[in-house]
Structure formats: C-alpha cells, structure tokens
Amino acid sequence: MSEEEISQAEEERIEAALQTSDIAISVRGLRNSFGDQLIHDGLDLDVRKGEILGVVGGSGTGKSVLMRTIIGLQTPDAGDIHVFGESMVGRSDDEALAIRKRWGVLFQGGALFSTLTVAENVEVPIREYYPNIGQQLRDEIAAYKIRMTGLPTEAGPKYPSELSGGMKKRAGLARALALDPDLLFLDEPTAGLDPIGAAAFDEMTRKLQQTLGLTVFLITHDLDTLYSICDRVAVLADRKVTAVGTIDELLATDHPWIQEYFNGPRGRAATAAVSREKDREQTKAAQGPSDGRR
C-alpha cells in the first residue's frame, strides 16, 4: 500500500466511525483568517448529538466566524469539518444540500426576509426543499411552528418591520425549525432581550430541544443562558477552543480568561442565582409533596 492509499483508508475509517458515533459536529485543525489577521488556528471541537453546547469567548474571538464556517458561509483556510459524518469543506452547494436540510440557523437579528410575512418566512424553507407539500398543509405547518415558538397567532400575517426584537428572534427560530432539523445553530439568541424575555427564550430552547431531540450549537454572551440550559460549554480563546466541559469542569481549569469570565462579578451573580434556585427547590422538596415543580 502506498502512503496515499493508507491515508485514504484512514480517512474512510474515520468517516465511518463518525457516521455511527454520537458526534454531530466534528471540527479538526480549523484555520480561518481575514487578510493577515488570524482568527482560528488549529481549532478542534466536537458537538455531541442531543446536547446544548454553549460557545463563549471574548469579542472578536471568532464565535460567529466558527458558526459561519460550520454552516458553509465561509470557506476555511485549512481544516476539516464533519457534520453528521459528512465532510463539509470543499463541498459544492448541491452536495451539501442533504445536510443543509438537517440544520436550522437563527442569525443574530433574526434575518427574516423583509418582504414576506412571518408565516411566509416560515414557509420559505418548506417550499424550497419540499415542493411536494401542498399549500394547505404548508400553511398549517407554519401555523403550529409559529405557535411552538410562543408567538401569538396575530404575529402570522405581520411583516418583520412590525415586530419587536424578541418577536423577530422567535419568528427567526420558527423559520429555523421549519424543517424539523436535527441540528440548531443559535447566534446570541438572548442578546438584546429583556431578562424576562431572555429567560423565556432559554426555557423555550430547552423545551424544544427536549421535545424534538435537537442538538443545539449556541453562541452566547449570556451567563444565565449558560448556567440554565447548556449541557457543556466551549471556550474560544487564543484562536482555538481552550476548554470544553460542564461549567464545574471549566471552573476547575486555571485559564485566566475562564476564571475572569465565570468568577467576575456577573459570573458570580449568575452562580448565586443558580444556587438560590437549587436551594428553593430543595426546601420545597423537604416541605413535602405539594405542587411538585415550580
């Protein structure tokens, strides 16, 4: 066997392993740069199936760039990206289509099509990918997706310019969920929302993830989101993923940025909120079987 054949066999073996394994997204040796500014260098990351992975990092560490690279909006300088075992780098749009149908993306501002109503926005992916679905069923699907994201029914025929920021995000999420994706990308879903709206959005993300069995790739600055719904957290710093794990695991590392992030005043406040919550639940449980949950 020549060296080339060996490497090819190796690659096939890895791909076969990935297809059967419980890894949804696998990023290896990713390098991205803009001009002479290096954004990512040798970045590795695995997202497991069925988890909510929070991605954090200071401003300009390339969180959004990482997401854009995974979903194919940006071609990396080097590195490999596998989504559901399929290599995404260097694929033509046609080849990547089968995978694209399996994910939904919520962009920061919602990115709704401004000339279409909310309901029509939700219908766009269905119409594009599954023209065999009739108009009536499509309208019904759009209707329950809109209700699923907690929007009032009056929001359906409204245009994006008539919506508030929080409603735009929900409408964007409804569109991202239109095709029942296995994988959901959320780019700062709670940014710009008031604390009540943000908490409701977190709750909804968690509930949808559990009901639909989603894998969620979630970029956030919101410590409350991290504490309340993320299974694991990946920290972007120094042009790579410096650490991945549960928050407790991250707290055990001695990376200065991570310590600063979680032990800064805001981090401590979020920790305190979580422990208060736990205490309350424990006292409730101790008081006896009243109404059970909150």
Partner: protein, 369 residues
C-alpha cells in the same frame, strides 16, 4: 430510518383501520399527506405500530387526519404519542397573510396616501429649508462655529471628483446637439446656425441642467444615504446630546458645498459641451475652430451665461436640501435608507426641472432671451 412513509387501509373486526408505516419525517413523507387526505371515513383508528420514526411534521399530519376522520390513534410509541400531543396542543389557526383588501379600495387608498405624503413632504422640505436658514444665521452670528474643514472636504467630494464624469457627459451632449441640429438645419442650408444652437442651448439650459441631474445622482443620493445611516446608528442623536447641532455640522457644510460648486460645475459643463459641439462642427461640418469661436461670440449674448449661472446655485440648494432632508427622515430599518435615497434623487431632479420652467418664463419676462 429512511424508509419511505406508506399507508394501507384494512378492515379489522368490521371497522376500517388506516395503518401507517415507514418513517414519518419530512424527507420521507412524499405524497402521504395527500393520500391521507383522500381516505374517506368512517375510520375507527390510525395505527402507528409500524412507524419507526417521526418528526413534528409527521405528527401534525397524523393529528389533522385523526381530527378530520374523528378517530383515535393507536399503536404509537411513547415518544410518538408525546409528539402528537405536543403538536395537537398548538392547533390554532394562524393567519398567513394580511387581510385581502378590494383592489379598487386599495388603489383609491394608495392614491390618497400618496397625495397626503407628497403634501407632507413638501411642507417638511419647506420647514427644513427654514431650519437651514436659521442654522445659517446662527453660524453668521457665531462665525467660530463655521466648519471650514467639513466644507472644504465636501468641495472635493461634490466638485473636484465630479469633474471627470461631468466633463465627459457634457462633451458628449455637445456632440449630440451639434450632430442632431446640423442634420435638421442642413435641410434649409443653414448649417452655420448649429453654432447658435450649441452655444445658446448649453449656456442657458443644458450645461446647468445636466450638471444638476448628475450632482443629484452623485451627491444628493450620497447625502441621503450618509445622513440616513447616521440616523440609524444614532450618530445624529449622539451629536445632539453632546450639543453639536446636526443642522450646523452636517446639513450646512453639504448645502454650502453644493451651492458653491454648482455654478462652477455648470460653467465647466457648458464649456465642455461647447468644445464637444465645436469638435463635431470641425469634423462633420468642416467649420474651423477659429470660425466657430468667432461666431459663438457674435451669437451668444452674455445674458445667456448669467441665466445659467443664476440658476445653478438655486438648483444646488434644492439638491442639497432634498438629499439632507430625506436622509434626516430615516427611521426604523436599513431598508428605509434605500427608499429615502431614491426619493431624494427623484425629488431633487423633479424640483430642479419645475424650477427651471419657472426660470425660463421669468427670464423671458425680464427680456433676457
């Protein structure tokens, strides 16, 4: 997981059962929803025991079929049951599009809205003109607030960088006038009158008018887009809170630059058009340039130059004001910037031509013809 969804109807203990099988996910659904719609009752149950995978769209399809046929759902896994239940809870009609309005009513409504909007715009423009005058007076009283640097910078953007395109355009216009004119005048054997045509037309009308259109397209639109973006990013509001008047800092320098640059550009454009006309006369009509210039001096009265130069700053004010006014009206979203920019250019060109017509009547009245 990827087995196509299928449907069989069977009779079990005297009642009809619809049996679904395969994967009820959107990718494998195929024509199943249509076939399910075609099933006629009475049906006692929809059987899911052979369904191996389901997403919410599959669940919804089952839910609506069960609702329509008024039958129960049996044999599904716990997950499937939960999904169908979850989806069923969301069953509430959501309007997809805004209510349909009768076309006649809509047209009448749109006409009414357009009339009101144009009236409001005209009033707004007038108000804006007043605000600009007040700002000008304020700067005259406090000359240290005059932003010389901003004005000079606008001179370059509005004037100097437009020289190339305006020169080329005017040169070509001169050629076109001379060529078209000579073809017509040749029929009467009066080709020499081509010189009158080129000279008088360019100095009186076309030089300044074409310049105004070009400046409206280049600078008027740029003003609207710049100020519009600054409104969106709240730069204008920030300016106000710091105590800088946007009228003085943004509108005045731009207006002043256009007002000063318009006569200069208009004169330059007229000269370029005359050169273009002379060029064609020399080549096509064999009129030597020296004859052309001599004849031009005889037939073009100096008042023609004044007519052009008097109109130019007025056009400049209109262009700058509609650009800045539309820019300052931007609020809401980025789409508005585009709409306002278009509006600024259309409004400027329209008003320039209207005012030009008034000028034509006025100058004839004073005897400058």
């Amino acid at each position: 997981m990827n087995k196509a969804a299928d449907l069989t109807e069977e009779n079990r203990d005297g009642s009809n059962v619809v049996r679904l099988s395969g994967s009820l996910a959107i990718a494998c659904l195929g024509d199943l929803p249509d076939r399910l719609d075609a099933v006629q009752g009475p049906v006692s149950a929809i059987d899911l025991s052979q369904v191996d995978h389901m997403d919410t769209i599959g669940a919804w399809t089952i839910h609506r079929a069960a609702k329509r046929l008024n039958c129960e759902i049996s044999g599904g896994s716990d997950d499937a049951g939960r999904l169908i239940h979850a989806v069923g809870e969301l069953d509430e009609p959501v309007p997809i599009r805004p209510d349909h309005v009768h076309p006649l009513r809509r047209v009448v409504g749109q006409i009414g809205e357009a009339v009101c909007a144009s009236g409001a715009t005209l009033m707004g423009l007038l108000g804006f003109f007043g605000a600009t005058l007040i700002a000008t007076w304020a700067v005259i009283r406090h000359p240290h607030r005059f932003r010389l640097n901003a004005v000079v910078q606008r001179f370059e953007v509005v004037g100097v960088s437009a020289l190339g395109i305006i020169g080329l355009m005017s040169f070509l216009i001169g050629i076109v006038i001379a060529q078209q004119g000579s073809v017509q005048l040749r029929q009467f054997g009066m080709e020499m009158l081509t010189i009158n045509l080129v000279g008088r037309l360019t100095f009186r009308e076309l030089g300044v008018l074409m310049t105004a259109i070009m400046v409206a397209g280049r600078s008027g639109s740029a003003f609207a887009a710049q100020l519009g973006t600054m409104k969106l990013t709240e730069e204008v509001d920030a300016m106000r809170t710091i105590g800088v008047s946007p009228m003085e800092a943004l509108v005045l320098p731009r207006t002043l630059a256009v007002v000063i640059m318009m006569p200069l550009l208009g004169f330059y454009a007229s000269i370029m058009a005359v050169i273009g006309g002379g060029f064609l006369c020399a080549i096509a009509l064999e009129i030597p340039p020296i004859t052309f210039v001599q004849r031009l001096r005889e037939v073009v009265p100096i008042t023609d130059l004044w007519v052009g130069l008097i109109k130019a700053p007025v056009f400049g004010i209109i262009i700058a004001l509609s650009g800045c006014f539309q820019g300052m009206q931007v609020k809401g979203n980025a789409e508005e910037v585009g709409l306002r920019t278009t509006a600024a250019v259309v409004q400027a060109i329209f008003l320039v031509i209207v005012i030009d017509a008034f000028f034509a009547v006025f100058f004839t009245w004073v005897g400058w013809n």
